[in-house]
Symmetry: C2
Subunit: 180 residues, 2 copies
C-alpha cells in the first residue's frame, strides 16, 4: 500500500534522523537567543499535522491566521545519499488562543501527505477522494505504530489527526484550536 511506504519513508528518512536531536537543537536555540520561547521541556516535541483531506499548506498561516511563523530552529546538516551537507530544520510557530495570547510550538505538516494529494489528482493513478482518505488513515495508523515502537523517538512528537473536510470549512480557526 502506498500510504504504508510513505509512513516508513517519513520515519526512516526524517523522523528517525531529526527527533533524537530535537532536545539538543532546542537547547542550542535557547542558548543562542537567550530566549524564553519554549521554556517547558514537556513541549519540546514536533507537532505533526495529519489532515484527513491530505491538503498540505506550505505556510500554516494559509490554513489559519491564528498561526504565525516565529523563527526556525538551528539546522541539522548531514551527508545523505550523495548530497553533501543536506539541511533539515523545524519552524517554531506562535499559535494564538481566543484571548490573543501566543503559545509557541514546533509544528509542521506530515509532508508525505502532499504526495497522496497529488496522486489523487493524477488520472494515471486513479484513486478518488474516498480512497485517499483511507490512505491517510492507513498512513496515520502505520506511522503511529512505527513511532510507538521507536524508543529513540519517544516523547519527541505529537501526531495530530485533523478531520478537516468538514470542520475546517466551518471554522477558520479550527487548526489553531486543535494544536492548543
Amino acid at each position: 500500500d502506498v500510504a504504508c511506504g510513505l509512513a516508513w519513508s517519513f520515519y526512516t528518512g526524517y523522523l528517525k534522523l531529526v527527533l533524537p536531536r530535537l532536545r539538543a537543537t532546542i537547547e542550542e536555540y535557547r542558548a543562542q537567543h537567550r530566549s524564553n520561547i519554549l521554556p517547558q521541556r514537556d513541549f519540546w516535541k514536533v507537532n505533526i499535522l495529519v489532515p484527513l483531506s491530505a491538503s498540505v499548506f506550505n505556510q500554516l498561516e494559509d490554513m489559519d491566521q491564528r498561526i504565525r511563523f516565529y523563527e526556525n530552529l538551528p539546522e541539522t546538516v548531514i551527508d545523505r545519499a550523495g548530497i553533501r551537507s543536506r539541511v533539515y530544520k523545524h519552524s517554531v510557530h506562535a499559535v494564538y488562543d481566543d484571548q490573543k495570547r501566543p503559545h509557541y510550538c514546533v509544528v509542521e505538516y506530515a509532508t508525505p501527505l502532499d504526495t497522496l494529494h497529488q496522486m489523487s489528482h493524477d488520472s494515471r493513478v486513479g484513486f478518488g477522494v474516498n480512497e485517499r482518505r483511507q490512505q491517510v488513515l492507513l498512513f496515520y495508523r502505520t506511522l503511529k505504530e512505527i513511532l510507538d515502537n521507536s524508543p529513540e523517538c519517544r516523547n519527541r512528537y505529537q501526531l495530530i489527526l485533523l478531520d478537516d473536510d468538514c470542520d475546517a470549512e466551518a471554522d477558520p480557526h479550527f487548526l489553531s484550536k486543535e494544536i492548543l
Copy 2:
C-alpha cells in the same frame, strides 16, 4: 505497493520541484565561480543512481574511490508544508576514468531506496531480499514512467539502474564506470 508510493513521493516532493530549476542553478553556479566545470549543456542533468540492492551510501566515495565530491550547487530555498525556507541542493562530483581524468557531473542516489533497505531489515514489515529487489524494479519502472510523462522534467535527469549485487563486488570501480 510500497515502491509505487516512494516513486511518486520522489517525483512530487523533489524532482518536480528541483529539475525545472536545474539549468538556472547551474548557470548561477558557473557565473559565481567563473567556472568551466560542466561546460556542456547536454550534461546539465541530475544522474540518479538506482541500486538494485537498495544499498544507498551517504558519501559516494564509500562506494567507489574514483568518485570525489567536488562542490555543491547553489541552494533552492522554498516554504514547504509548514517548514519555512526548506533547503534543496545537488552535489557536483568528479568521476575519474581509468586514465585518471576527472569528469564533472551532478550525481546522487534515489534516496527513497534507503527506506526500502531499512524496511527489509525490519521484522514487522517482513520482506526479504527478493521482494526488495522486486520493489526496486517497481520503483524504477514507476519513476521512469512518471518522468517520461512530465514535460517540465524533460532532459533534466538520467536514471542509472545499478546491478550492484554481483557487479559491485567484482569491481570496486563499477559505479564510476557506470556513470561514465
